[in-house]
Symmetry: C2
Subunit: 571 residues, 2 copies
């Protein structure tokens, strides 16, 4: 492609309304343009990257035996009423009426539509398993669309849905998809982790998010330095401290009271008593569907309500209001403690290792010193706190570190939620009707491109992983007006194009500085620069966009060297 | 692909709500399923065909220098207000509101969106010409969607828009696109014609419809048997009869009146007077913006109002009501004739060749015999009637025949309609702002697939043109339970798949009859049948779906023979 004829409108200025790096660079590199909030045009450079992602996804999905279909964007309300989601789904579901006044929505996801296909055309276990996928524009009416393609309203998604006769089959497919997704993101040239996510009431490890690692990522992730364990920080399990032998470290100090007038929060208590937060017990009173509960974590930790729910087996947990706290503890908020409390007490594993702690006294303006579990109060123990850098891995002896990532894919065992509500049954080998067991598997196609940029850029612009790059190589003749330069550049361009490479040649009558800046911005991995001085000595310059490495190559060898560096030395 | 694991739900019964052959066969062959009126799922077999069409389109558009982009499906009302189409476009434009109450529509076409891109990012003649295309799902809320993918509400379209600094450039691109479209439909393996269509107020031959010829087509087309001329029948020009020398064939018979009580229409007059319709003059009174007009055509012809408009240079023409006819002719409807009429008379060229015609007498229950133009009335002559089988070609000495076709593409020089209303200007070489000149070029992707079936089918099912076929070859082992058969079939399948062919193997445990019926229905061009009897003699059977030709091939040569027949003898 010739730069001079391509719609490739690069910008010097960073757009004012862009929130994140990838959005800024995509706009500046002429990949996308905003049409309305969360709605974008993909310009030619953007389409090339998206097509690269789609091609990799399609090849790997097909290879794993999934079959491509295409469902409508505009879906009838009836299907969504059957699953109950017409009512349940919030305002993100864009509802509309056709000219006859019939209700439709723009598909944000296609569980109903695909279940409708399968219940209609698959009647027997012989037609199972089945994994159907599509690559399609979807619409979610986000209240605050932002971050460009990262959280748009209209976006391209690969969504796949599998149907099974048995749990084993569904779980086999789950593992197959986890491997398929790993191959997809590997082939995209991305550094990523498959991260354990909440599987809801399905049970087992059947929900994984695929995270592209990037410092700018929205999600904090705990990653083991030894094994493959990785989880969203707020869901990460933590290895409990080893339980201490009874009597070991046992304190002989008596509980003492201390007056702490108006000193309520952990921060204030720590300063007032001049003790570290690690010696404080934080006591939080919760209302739950299992009754009122006191939850204890060490003063330096954050309680994680998801974990509290799981430990209690509760459907909901909610911090108690001031009045309830006073009724339960007999003291104003800020002075709750475990000693003498009459309600159920659950404590984080870390509490078990504490000696001579400080806690609220359940009495206004008073704290207790030398509080010891077992002797002064009893509790149930569990994993209640947010993980942090340095925590122990729950799967091995390794240590967790915390890093950031961007969710680009999610795989999930759905179970029978949709097949039961929509009557997607099959006859088993005994002729008995059974609901199909389902799985679903999504990839945000535009998000993959955006995440690739978040992970691979520098101050000058994008640094594309080769598999996603809109072109294989950029040819940059410095003075296009110079006949020798032009001739050599177009000869190289023609030779490489005929060899099957996608080349961009910057044939614009622009200054070298402008061309170099644009090349860095657009970020094609390999740049071949042709200048009159180098050419006089029979050379062109190869530059690696990632490393910045520069080397001279004889012009006669240039095409072969480009092919070698792109296709590997073997070819 | 293995039939047993593919979602390929063929049906024995023809669906009750299918109107046309292609729709029936697509449903029966398991390519599509209806979700709502005019809204379909594409199942795996359907997706394969659509992807084949898209691939050919994409390759040829890219080859011609067009650049792929992707615009949103959901478009903001503001853009449509700028062009005036938010108000003008009828109920086919599906309008909707987002959660904030802002107006949007589902794009039925993208002139506004693409003009917005170009006006924003192209400022100078140096950025022109530009041809941008996309392949995308579109939505038109047709009042009566029908014919399956032929006239759906949601449908896949390739739409392209070009932008130019000069008329010459726009017209060059028009010709290039005409050639590109011809290459596309040729590569699809279709018999088609580029048919002249109405270019509105643009002038010149800058509107062509691409028609796939099929007896079941919606459109009647006049096609020359000698040159390339083809046009929609209602727009087809007709070579005028050669004008007769003055005095030649001149009649010496005097005009005579005949009483024709209650005999009004051509049919009745012809029977009543026992004369052929070719001797009658049909006189129609029109109200037009150029005043009242009498339009004459021969009794066997149909007046064409589009042509009448063109001959008159009128904006509107409308048949006069009974009262007006009586005022103008002095007689009730049914007895109008040219003799003695005081209003402007325009006549079809054929009238000039008539001698001793019969016409109304402008008097109740009376007709005139021996009416002759020139002597008894004067008229302006032009092309006023619908063409018919046997008419002369307007471009050469050939003869027109009438056949039927399905519109699959349309190319059109748009001019400055959108660039003027939306302010898409560029600076010319003198620094003067000018509106860009535009062209637009559409292909209905699903329609191409449907039209291919209308053109290529028999009683048993589809007969795919090879380039669109969902698979290159079907391998049909008759008794899959027979180890020898199964082994030979899968060996062939593996060898061909590894050679890069798309193979379908019918590995179902079904009776031979069921498999043969499904193979005919699905319509893959080449079928290789493996039966135990043939195999014992070392043979397999090749069958051409189109010709029905059958031949035995040695099993050892089967793979090579398949490759030869698909890729041509050269490979």
């Amino acid at each position: 492609m010739r730069f001079s004829t391509m719609l490739l409108p690069t910008l010097k200025e960073t757009p004012a309304d862009a929130d994140v790096i990838s959005q800024k660079l995509m706009v500046r590199a002429g990949m996308i343009r905003k049409v309305a909030a969360g709605i974008y045009d993909l310009l030619p450079l953007g389409v090339r990257v998206i097509r690269n992602v789609e091609k990799i996804i399609r090849e790997e999905m097909n290879r794993s035996g999934a079959q491509e279909i295409l469902m409508p964007t505009v879906l009838p309300a009836e299907l969504w009423s059957e699953s109950g989601r017409w009512e349940e789904y919030g305002a993100e579901l864009l509802r509309l009426k056709d000219r006859h006044g019939r209700d439709f929505c723009l598909g944000p996801t296609h569980e109903e539509a695909v279940t409708d296909i399968v219940r209609r055309d698959v009647k027997s276990y012989k037609g199972l398993p089945l994994n159907l996928y599509q690559i399609q524009g979807k619409f979610r009416d986000e209240i605050r669309p932002r971050f460009g393609l990262m959280r748009g309203r209209e976006f391209i998604m690969k969504d796949a849905y599998s149907f099974h006769a048995t749990d084993e089959s569904a779980e086999e497919e789950y593992v197959k998809m986890r491997d398929t997704y790993s191959r997809i993101f590997e082939r995209c040239g991305l550094t990523f982790r498959a991260v354990e996510a909440d599987a809801g009431n399905i049970g087992g490890n059947f929900s994984h998010e695929f995270m592209v690692m990037a410092d700018t990522g929205e999600d904090a992730i705990a990653v083991c330095d030894t094994c493959k364990y990785a989880a969203n920080l707020e869901r990460a399990e933590i290895r409990p401290y080893e339980a201490k032998e009874s009597g070991e470290d046992a304190s002989t100090n008596e509980v003492d009271t201390v007056t702490t007038p108006g000193v309520k929060c952990i921060e204030e208590v720590s300063v007032f008593l001049d003790v570290s937060k690690e010696t404080l017990i934080k006591t939080l009173i919760y209302n739950t569907d299992a009754g009122p509960v006191a939850a204890l974590v060490r003063g330096d930790a954050e309680l994680n309500e998801l974990k509290l729910k799981r430990v209690l087996g509760a459907e909901f947990v909610e911090l108690a209001d001031d009045k309830t706290v006073e009724e339960i503890t007999g003291a104003p908020v800020g002075f709750a403690g475990p000693v003498g409390l009459k309600i159920r007490i659950v404590a984080d594993h870390a509490i078990r290792g504490m000696v001579d702690s400080v806690a609220g006294a359940n009495e206004a303006n008073t704290h207790l010193l030398n509080v010891n579990q077992g002797r002064d109060f009893e509790a149930e123990y569990g994993d209640l706190r947010n993980g942090a850098e340095g925590d122990g891995c729950p799967r091995c002896a390794g240590t967790l570190s915390v890093c950031r990532g961007i969710e680009v894919g999610h795989i999930f065992k759905l179970g029978t939620k949709y097949s039961v509500s929509m009557g997607a049954n099959f006859l088993d080998e005994n002729g008995k009707a059974q609901p199909m067991i389902m799985g679903c598997y999504g990839i945000g196609v535009g998000r993959v491109a955006a995440a690739a940029i978040e992970q691979n850029h520098d101050e000058a612009g994008i640094v594309w992983p080769a598999p996603l790059s809109p072109f294989d190589v950029e040819i940059l003749p410095i003075k296009i007006a110079d006949l020798e330069v032009r001739k050599a550049a177009f000869e190289l361009y023609t030779e490489l194009t005929e060899a099957g490479l996608d080349c961009l040649i910057d044939d614009r009558k622009e200054r070298a500085g402008v061309k170099f800046k644009d090349a860095d911005l657009i970020g094609i991995p390999l740049r071949v620069t042709l200048g009159d001085r180098n050419l006089k000595e029979g050379n062109v310059e190869f530059k690696d966009r990632g490393t910045g490495e520069v080397r001279l190559v004889a012009v006669a060898d240039a095409a072969e060297e480009v092919l070698k560096s792109i296709r590997g030395a073997g070819q």
